[in-house]
């Protein structure tokens, strides 16, 4: 009620909110992250455009890392579970999250997806996001690191055109480098230079899932994640036996 003149009109009350609009997603992401840390699972949010080679990278990763680490994948797609089936065929536990029309995964979808995957026993969980260079960048899922797959056929200027997703990347996997022989105008150095304009710590590993080139370096990067090491040590001590996940080099 208007108090100043008693006219009976409603009051217009200003309210300072100052709340992040995605606060609910961020809470759900924190919740996922706590679960992952409690169970010593390293979690990678793998993003990239449709056809960038995300699934192929996971298949190649399974070939190299599968024998020594327990890997799992949650695959986000608008429709079909084709990618989940491909990854399963490569020997990794995988479940599909079908988003319907949503162009990205959010923390809640990941949480529900976890209910269908025996993720607690994993060393590394990959969350293969919906193929899209825009929307997934905005949503925290509870991951430890963001990895963006960028294929050489997408063009050198993709980092400049989609700066947000590359800014949030801890690593860029430059995929399909076996095709460089037929792409004389594409320069890895120029892609690296463009990344340094949008990533404060530009780290790029060129790989080919077809020839296997660079996959060792990518696997080494995964194993060097402090979290993997830490998780590993803790699990070894807690159970007092030799953990299956040691890297033998």
């Amino acid at each position: 009620m208007c108090d100043s003149c008693g006219c009976g009109d409603s009051d217009i009350v200003p309210v300072a909110v100052h709340e992040r609009i995605l606060a609910n997603n961020e809470r759900a992401a924190r919740h996922n992250r706590e679960h992952f840390h409690d169970h010593h699972v390293s979690v990678i949010n793998l993003m990239g455009s449709p056809g960038a080679g995300k699934t192929a990278v996971l298949e190649a990763t399974a070939r190299v890392l599968g024998p020594s680490k327990k890997l799992g994948v949650l695959v986000g797609d608008l429709a079909t579970d084709n990618d989940a089936r491909r990854v399963r065929a490569a020997g990794i536990a995988a479940e599909a999250i079908t988003t319907g029309s949503a162009c990205h995964l959010d923390a809640d979808m990941v949480h529900k997806g976890l209910h269908r995957l025996a993720w607690r026993d994993l060393d590394v969980l990959f969350i293969e996001n919906v193929g899209n260079l825009v929307c997934p960048a905005v949503y925290d899922l509870g991951q430890d690191v963001n990895v963006v797959a960028l294929s050489v056929t997408e063009g050198e200027d993709k980092p400049l055109k989609y700066p947000t997703i590359f800014r949030k990347a801890d690593l860029v996997l430059l995929t399909k480098i076996d095709l460089l022989t037929v792409l004389p105008d594409i320069s890895i150095a120029r892609i690296q230079e463009n990344l340094s304009m949008v990533m404060p710590k530009p780290v790029m590993i060129p790989v080919s899932a077809t020839t296997g080139k660079g996959i060792d370096q990518w696997v080494q990067w995964l194993q060097d994640l402090k979290l993997v090491q830490h998780a590993h040590d803790t699990v070894t001590h807690a159970h007092g036996h030799h953990h299956h996940g040691h890297a033998h080099r």
């Binding site: 009620m1 009350v13 100052h18 609910n24 162009c103 947000t164």
Partner: protein
């Protein structure tokens, strides 16, 4: 098109605020969106206009304060100019984002009987 999801999340927040204060209508909505937050502002506004029909926000104009992207040196060597590599020329450290990443519901004007 995640702008629709973001607007949906904002409506949940607005409804919670309005409910808490026994408001009958929202008269104005103010948000702050960073230029590098990954949100297309025209699309965000379109999504808002689509959603607000027959809601508590029906008569509430939306004000978007667009925040420029700004980077600086974490060691205090000043701003990194736009179009520059995201490392400090003085100390070589990776730049730190000072602003431009926010998606914030700043304030509301509520009609309270």
């Amino acid at each position: 098109m995640h702008e629709y999801s973001i607007v949906q999340a904002m409506f949940d927040q607005i409804e919670a605020q309005a409910h808490q204060r026994h408001a009958v209508a929202v008269k104005h909505v103010y948000v702050r969106i960073g230029r590098s937050a990954g949100v297309d502002v025209p699309l965000f506004k379109t999504a808002y206009d689509t959603f607000r029909v027959r809601t508590i926000c029906e008569d509430a104009p939306l004000d978007v304060d667009e925040v420029p992207e700004r980077w600086d040196c974490p060691e205090g060597h000043g701003d990194i100019p736009p179009g520059h590599r995201l490392t400090c020329d003085t100390c070589g450290r990776p730049a730190r984002m000072a602003s431009g990443d926010e998606i914030v519901l700043e304030r509301l004007e509520l009609e309270v009987p």
